[in-house]
Symmetry: C2
Subunit: 360 residues, 2 copies
């Protein structure tokens, strides 16, 4: 009944999570009401909030001197939040960015709403098919922070080795959070929209070193204000209760499966199988330099671009959805987030093989 | 199985909406995936977005020269959005507010993050038990807009007659939108968090006269930017797909029940029954002046305040939840949003009567 879902996001969720949500949608654990219908101040929801934070702290080994926030507005909200919460603009500080593709560029664009933003390195000239060599990053003395996009969902490039920096490092981990271990203490802030590896859209996670809260000097809307969110345990206003609840179920699922190390092994295997197949087959091309290839998002093209539409239609008929490349680049993309099973990847490879054979 | 749910918000949803959501949670209309797992760019979700906007336009009779936006961040996000999107600060404009209680005060507080905010009238001295007489509202010449809170969920006061103003009128309709007809063309902006009458928390609705979009001169985060949201049909970033989907189901339900006129009649009857009972019974006190009493939120107190805790415990045992007054004021509160059936109100009155008798 379930299709193979390779959507870039909002992405597939673990079937066990959906099953549980479905079972208790009308009656949350004997309350006689849906989890959507209970006060965020109730004992029942407080427990969801507390348990989910505790689970994420265990999964990512988050140090005690970091706050864990659950804001609304997705990663795009956080693009603004990092500038407003962190930059001392009156001291002449500027936010700095490593430009690795579409999402890094979106972060820069948001920063420019407020003033200057510095791109310390870019792989634009290389078609965003690699990560700029850290030895070339030219970070100015007045940097407020250095922002990196740990995985680019559209270009399909990923930091295989975690970056480091002398200035505050800020990471957009929207598309690879919980897909492998991340060394939280390297970063001042890690944020992620939920709709790839954490849950449904409508909620984000921001992990911020507590000493940085209140650093910025511009006014911040309450809904994006780290200080207000921390003080109110992410309930400075009514939180997105259903999305938070589902995220909590996803955290429980990751733990029950064995944690991020198990996810990392599975994700490596899925990606290696798919890239291996693509490299062996002339009909398909993966254009990203091998050492930067994302384990989460595998964009590729058909040798004959004109056949892409027919390919996508045949894939849909065969029970594969979400394989369209991002509208900004076209082509094909298979997203291999935590919830995507090896069986789905194997089925996709079989389909790719059959489609290639039928094309000869 | 379902309890009588009088929660202030996130509030009860129509049972038919929950039943439908439950039925299709694992498999959205034959797609083989949950609605939480599909791209917001998919044909299926585009249809949800378009249909929900069209339904809300029909329900509220929204003129064509108004945009309908579905932002994240709730009404608290919109408290900032109205200031950032509407105020010409360089021209010396100030946002102006009618202070009717807790939520009006929260809106003022948010505005003050950005500078001056003017309170043109307040009922604070009257314990927020009435709406300041419009003839006393002292709106300065440099007003950017005049903000009203159409219903105060905590104090339980409501504009029974819609306000009017020579300057741009901005309304927080979070807790009474779709509960009765609202004359949209009186307002420059009407906004509402969803979690009372529209759906689950995590999504808001903003109805804005198109000519006002881009009026303000301060930088706005994309997620709160009317222009960006309008241009992208509220998909400037990944929207909260599940909350939006449920809101669409709620709009369909309101239409199928007969629209806002039917809701208004039912809501008037529910409120009249409950206030009528409270006024007749010495054990309970409704402190709001009758002509300002909210039809959505009925706060009341026990004559003997010390018995409140015992009352709430007995109510819960009898199958009534969410009757606690807001943590800022205590006491008891019954919220009577659209999804609350007359049978639940009648059952509550019976319970109140029995509790009063047992207290004698």
């Amino acid at each position: 009944m379930r299709v193979h879902n390779f959507t870039g996001g909002p992405a597939a969720l673990p079937e066990a999570v959906l099953q549980r949500a479905s079972n208790e949608l009308m009656d949350f654990r004997g309350m006689g009401a849906s989890v959507m219908e209970i006060s965020h101040r109730s004992a029942e929801f407080s427990r969801i909030a507390e348990d989910s934070e505790a689970a994420l702290r265990r999964l990512m080994d988050i140090p005690d001197d970091y706050a864990v926030l659950f804001p609304q507005g997705g990663a795009t909200g956080q693009f603004a939040a990092i500038v407003l919460n962190l930059v001392k603009s009156e001291a002449g500080e500027v936010p700095c960015y490593v430009d690795t593709g579409y999402w890094a560029s979106r972060a820069v664009k948001e920063a420019k709403r407020y003033g200057e933003a510095v791109i310390v390195a870019s792989s634009e000239a290389q078609g965003y098919r690699e990560i700029p060599d850290p030895s070339t990053w030219n970070v100015p003395d007045n940097a407020a922070f250095l922002h990196v996009t740990l995985n680019e969902t559209i270009g399909g490039v990923e930091f295989r080795d975690e970056p480091s920096s002398d200035v505050i490092l800020v990471a957009d981990a929207s598309s690879n959070i919980l897909s492998k271990a991340i060394n939280v203490s390297r970063y001042g802030v890690i944020y992620a929209g939920a709709q790839k590896n954490l849950g449904p859209s409508g909620i984000a996670v921001t992990i911020v070193r507590k000493s940085l809260i209140g650093r910025g000097d511009r006014p911040v809307p309450t809904v994006l204000d780290y200080a207000a969110l921390e003080a109110a345990r992410s309930m400075a206003n009514t939180p997105p209760v259903f999305a938070w609840y589902i995220a909590g179920l996803v955290f429980d699922w990751v733990e029950s499966e064995g944690g991020v190390e198990v996810m990392a092994k599975r994700n490596a295997r899925k990606a290696e199988r798919l890239y291996g197949f693509l490299d062996e087959n002339d009909l398909y091309q993966s254009k990203v330099a091998p050492q930067f290839r994302s384990r989460m998002n595998v964009p590729f093209n058909l040798q004959e671009e004109s056949r892409t539409k027919a390919f996508l239609a045949a894939a849909r008929d065969a029970g594969f959805i979400g394989l369209e490349g991002h509208r900004s680049v076209g082509g094909v993309r298979a997203s291999l987030y935590n919830a995507i099973r090896q069986e789905s990847v194997d089925a996709l490879i079989d389909f790719l093989d059959e489609f290639a054979a039928s094309a000869l």
